[in-house]
Symmetry: C2
Subunit: 264 residues, 2 copies
């Protein structure tokens, strides 16, 4: 069977590899059902998963795992089930959203901070990337008089061993691949003008998920302290533009579309 | 016996404590007989030491020690002895002179340099004050691409633990005392207008020696990275001004003055 244009888009965006299903479902709940009281029907989850190329059995296993791990819970109403984030799962999702959906870089400025080696700060006192036991890169304005701080700028030359500690090679490589995929995605989308609600929801889930896998592994520091081949800024920009171009469908509308598939 | 005005000046400048004699004699040789072939008679050494309040026996012991340690050697000519730096002693003296006699701070700029903690620079690769195994303050422009460097300026706020590593409390306290002594010394000198050659030579030796004890203990870094109560810059300035006001007497002239004490 010839793949549909949208299936080709999915293949392109997932590099023809099915994403880890439980992790993708976390993105789905965060995208569509993060509000308290929000519930997704099994039918919508199945339809979305199918769009992304996930088999029903794999989805059932993933839902089981998420429930066991305390991320979600479910309820049966008559012949159908609805799924929803637990309070703990919702808290995780809410906490990660600002980083995932941010339009701008997580920080505009960074400092190199050196603490007294004889009295190093604790990791809980300040967030950032520790370069050694008493030196870190941070986006928090360091006010303590007992630390030395040096403001970094896009012109500051940082040695490679330092930027390597900000982001590992594998994650940097992910940004290269995603940036390339997003670049050609636009042409494909222009050639596929009429995405239905479900396809738009699936597209958004894939975009958010691809970027989430990168951004949640990286520190909240400005792009200029990242390795030279970091393309995170470009990924963030392109994902943001596409999420704006394809606004989020309301969950109610998706449920209605699934319930009455012949009335798009 | 009432002390002479110059003896009062000496007491003031030495804080009424006799300096360590062998160390003071190193200053004397550096000041008066650093040139190759330059020799000082025992008579001039005795006369200078007497001016500074050093007893002849203490001077003989110190000369013996300096000879044993390889700093100086001596020769008898008839009834008198002459003393001179060995090649090694002269090399030490020549090496220290630029720092001791410098009119300006040893450096105008400083950098904080951080090396890769996994591959720290060796102490012989770069000079400066090590703040930890891989971070140092240096006046050398750091060019290596594998180090991070941050230019420091007089406006850079350095924490106390950092400036404390540049100069210890005892040495900082010495600058406070010397700066105070030098401040009132000027009034005393104005009240004692007619110093003879030998007194001028003794005054210069005391000034150079007092500053040498401080400066040779401190790193070649700009004054602004020193602790807040460091008065080294003031000491350097006042010592320089006095050395300019009292030019160095020629050794020949001193020898002649000693040989014919009644013809000043």
């Amino acid at each position: 069977m010839q793949p549909t244009p949208f299936q080709q888009i999915v293949k392109h965006l997932t590099d023809d590899r099915t994403p880890r299903v439980w992790s993708l479902l976390v993105t789905v709940f965060g995208e569509l059902a993060q509000d308290a009281g929000s519930r997704i029907s099994g039918a919508v989850l199945r339809a979305l998963s199918a769009q992304i190329g996930i088999k029903p059995e794999a989805m059932r296993v993933a839902l089981h795992r998420l429930r066991k791990d305390g991320w979600i819970d479910s309820e049966r109403t008559g012949r159908t089930s609805v799924y929803f984030l637990t309070p703990w799962g919702r808290a995780q999702s809410v906490a990660a959203s600002p980083q995932i959906y941010a339009v701008d870089a997580p920080a505009a400025h960074a400092w190199l901070v050196m603490c007294n080696p004889a009295q190093p700060l604790q990791a809980e006192d300040i967030t950032g990337v520790w370069l050694s036991s008493h030196v870190l890169l941070t986006a928090e304005v360091p006010l303590a008089p007992e630390v030395y701080s040096s403001a970094l700028s896009p012109d500051t030359r940082l040695p490679v061993w330092m930027t390597d500690k900000v982001c590992d090679d594998a994650t940097v490589a992910m940004t290269t691949m995603l940036a390339q995929a997003l670049e050609t995605l636009e042409d494909r989308l222009n050639a596929t003008p009429d995405l239905d609600r479900l396809e738009i929801a699936a597209l958004r889930v894939l975009l958010v998920h691809s970027w989430r896998r990168i951004v949640l592994k990286t520190p909240s520091l400005p792009d200029y302290v990242f390795p030279d081949d970091w393309r995170g800024a470009l990924c963030r920009e392109r994902v943001s533009a596409l999420l704006t171009r394809y606004p989020k469908p309301q969950l109610d509308a998706l449920e209605a579309a699934i319930a009455a598939p012949l009335t798009p």
